[in-house]
Structure formats: C-alpha cells, structure tokens
C-alpha cells in the first residue's frame, strides 16, 4: 500500500492504493485552499502541508493524519519590520539526523529540529552578500530544491530560480555557487549569465552522492563532482525543457524526466504523455508511456508533481498534472495507470 499526498489548487488529497490495483481518495484537507506542497516526515510520521492562501499568506500546518487536528507551525516568517514578506513555500525535505529543511520565496531556507512544529530562518543564506543581485524566475524567487548528502549532515545543496545551485559543506555556515558548465538558452550565446540561472529541479544519486542530476530551464545536466560543474545530457530527449525529475536510489546512473514542448509551450510534446528514463547517466534516453495518454494529450506537469517510492525492481513512480490527473507506475515506468483523474490542478505529489 502506497500513500500519496497530493497538493492541489483546492486542497490536500490523500490517495491510498497499489499500482495496478487502483487508488482511492481517503482524505481531503484545506478544502478550497491552495496546498502547494505536502509531505510526511519519515522521522516523526507527521504530515506537513504548505498552504498559500491568496488572502492570508503562506502558512505551514502539521497533523498526525489528514483527518486529524491541524496545527500551524511557528517561525515560518521573515524578520519583522523588513522590506520583504514571505510569499510562498515550495518544498520540504527530510535531512540527516531527523532535521527538516524548507525552501520558499523570496529565496529563503528554514530548518526544523522538532519534526516541523517550529522553524528557524537560515540567516547565512538570508544575509548572503549577493542577495541584492538575485533575480526571480517566472514562479518568483523560489528555493525549490534541497538536496542532503546521505551520512554527512553538514553537506547540503540547494537550487533556486533563478539564482542557480548553492553548496555548503559546513552545516549551513557558508555557501558557494555550483554553476560551472550551465549554459542558459534564454540569453545571447555571448552573454555572461552571472547568477541568473533558472534551475528547475535538482537531485543526488543516493549510492554515489557526488553525482547529481538537474533539470534546467532548457537543458538536462549531470555533475560528477558534487555539483561544482555540470555537463549537458539532454541530447536524445524530444525537448530539454521540463520541470520535475526523480532518480532510482538503487542506480546512480538513473534519472527520469517529463519533457514539455518548450519554454513558450509548456505541454507534453506532440500531444503524447511520456516519461523519459536513462540508465546510463544520460548517454541515452528511453520513452516510457505504456498506459499514458498518447493522443491529443496536452498536459502540464509542475516542478513538485513527480515522486517515487521504493527502488530497483520495485521502483514506483507517480506524477500529477494541472488537468487534475495522477498517474502511477509500479514497475519503474514500464507501464502506467491512472491513480486519480478528476482532482483540482495538481501542484505536488509526494509518496509516503
């Protein structure tokens, strides 16, 4: 039995089921409110839900289960009296030692040591001297990817739109860029991109932590030096534009992406929905679409709307669409089936 936490434009939906046997909606919370991200903390077992009310601003809530009592987390705010306000919460990731990290807009990182009940702003990033030069992407100045290093709690990688990759090796004290080799196609070829680098998603290979994969705003990249430098691996894909990515934890040569037509046409290419898989670190890509819509299907899959459960031969994959469908695979992408078809627009999918 797999639990899916699906954040949508109109609330949080909990789906439970087994790939191939179907899924049921077992709970809905925050009816009518945009739930931009939800996950279950593996250490505490709590569900954390980021709710960005158009009226009341972004709030984080936690509960033992979706039917239960929700409590608003504390500390999810910027320093009072400043020039900026917290706009959105984009991602929550479990780190080493039971710690949780949360990223948001405007380019902010929070950490929690108590299972998400209380949070503290990471001042080293908030006070970074280059911050005045940070430029937002289309979704705002969003810190959307947080990538721990298994077994090394002091090491962390972040990605922001559009401020590139940031790396720390000293427990969040200092930060450096990891952007060598990234070539944006949204500026002239002879222009210097500086920091304006629109990373869309960032992941680390669990069994080979110095290897990372990235979906860029036009480009798919791999790093074999812990994010210091990057090599394009998008050749062979129908489009190198897209948002989410996942890896198989059992295979450091693996990655899955869902290409969209282009920056200016963010739908599945040719009206066909296909997930692309590499098992040779990006040398080649294979389309996986058995069971997915293959005709006149112009779907959009957002940044946080793809996730996995299990690994290796038991790898499960799930993604949601802005048209309100969730698709799942129980065989590493070989075959797919709908898990839900008529939800509100899907913002995020996370397995538990």
């Amino acid at each position: 039995m797999t639990e899916l936490l699906v954040g949508t434009k109109k609330g949080l939906f909990v789906l439970e089921g087994t790939p191939g046997e179907g899924f049921e909606v077992t709970a809905r919370a925050f009816a009518g409110e945009p739930v931009e991200y939800a996950m279950r903390d593996p250490a505490s077992g709590r569900i954390l839900a980021a709710v960005t009310s158009a009226f009341y601003g972004p709030k984080l809530h936690h509960a033992e289960d979706a039917h239960g009592e929700w409590t608003q987390a504390t500390g999810v705010e910027l320093p009072e009296g400043g020039e900026q306000a917290l706009e959105r919460l984009w991602v929550i990731v479990a780190g080493e030692g039971g710690r949780l990290y949360m990223g948001g807009d405007p380019g902010v990182l929070f950490e929690s040591a108590d299972g998400g009940a209380s949070w503290a702003l990471v001042r080293s990033l908030w006070d970074h001297p280059t911050r005045p030069d940070w430029q937002p992407g289309g979704g705002g100045l969003c810190l959307h990817s947080i990538v721990p290093w298994p077994g090394e709690p002091d090491r962390l990688a972040l990605a922001m739109s559009a401020v590139g990759v940031w790396l720390t090796d000293d427990g969040l004290e200092t930060w450096r860029h990891g952007n060598e080799g990234l070539r944006p196609n949204y500026i002239p070829e002879d222009a210097e991109p500086g920091m304006t680098l629109c990373v869309h998603d960032l992941h680390r290979a669990a069994q080979r932590p110095e290897r990372m994969f990235m979906q860029f705003h036009g480009g798919v990249y791999r790093s074999d030096d812990a994010g210091a430098s990057w090599t394009g691996i998008g050749a062979g894909l129908p489009s190198d534009f897209g948002f989410p990515m996942v890896l198989d934890p059992a295979d450091p040569d693996s990655a899955y992406v869902i290409p969209l037509e282009a920056d200016m046409d963010r739908v599945t290419p040719g009206g066909r929905v296909r997930v692309y898989e590499t098992r040779d670190a990006g040398e080649t890509w294979t389309a996986r679409g058995d069971g997915l819509p293959s005709e006149h299907a112009y779907l959009t899959i957002l940044r946080q709307a793809l996730d996995r459960a299990g690994s290796g031969s038991e790898l499960e994959l799930y993604f949601g669409t802005t048209s309100g469908a969730v698709f799942g695979s129980g065989d590493a992408g070989a075959t797919w089936a709908p898990a839900a078809e008529h939800l509100p627009p899907v913002y995020s999918v996370r397995t538990a």
Binding site: K9, S53, F55, Y56, G57, G82, A85, L86
Partner: protein, 88 residues
Amino acid sequence: MTTVRLREPLKRLAGGRADHALEGATVAEVLAALERDQPALAGWILDERGRLRRHINVYVSGEPGGAETPVGPEDRVDVLPAISGGAR
C-alpha cells in the same frame, strides 16, 4: 475603543469571537493591537512588514479604508477577504 469585526477563519483564530475592542488611532494601529491581543492571528492580516496583505479589504464604519485610515472610538473596522484574491 475601536471595534474590529472578524469573519471566519480569522474569527476562529481569535478565540471564536467576532468583535474585538482595541486601542489605536489608525487601522494599522488597531490591527497591530489585535495581533498582540490574539497572537494566533499574527501574520494573517498584516505581513512581516506590517503591511495589510494584498487581498485583504478593510472597511471603517462601512466605508472602504486602508492601513492609514484614522479610526475613533465609535468606529467599527471590518476585515474581509477581497474578491480579487479568489482568482487563483
């Protein structure tokens, strides 16, 4: 004192009470006093900068107002979600 009147979900966060009598010379001042009196409301009406959230409307005794609108002891400040925020 000025009366601040809340609807759900703000009313629920303020202990289930709609009307709150508060001191202050402007809308911003009475809303800041409301947050001090009802800490669960912190961040819901005013953001970290102390500004009214973009899609919150306030009316002072039935007239549209803003953060700097003066208020007196006979005034009622209604805090309402704006229809503009419903587009998402």
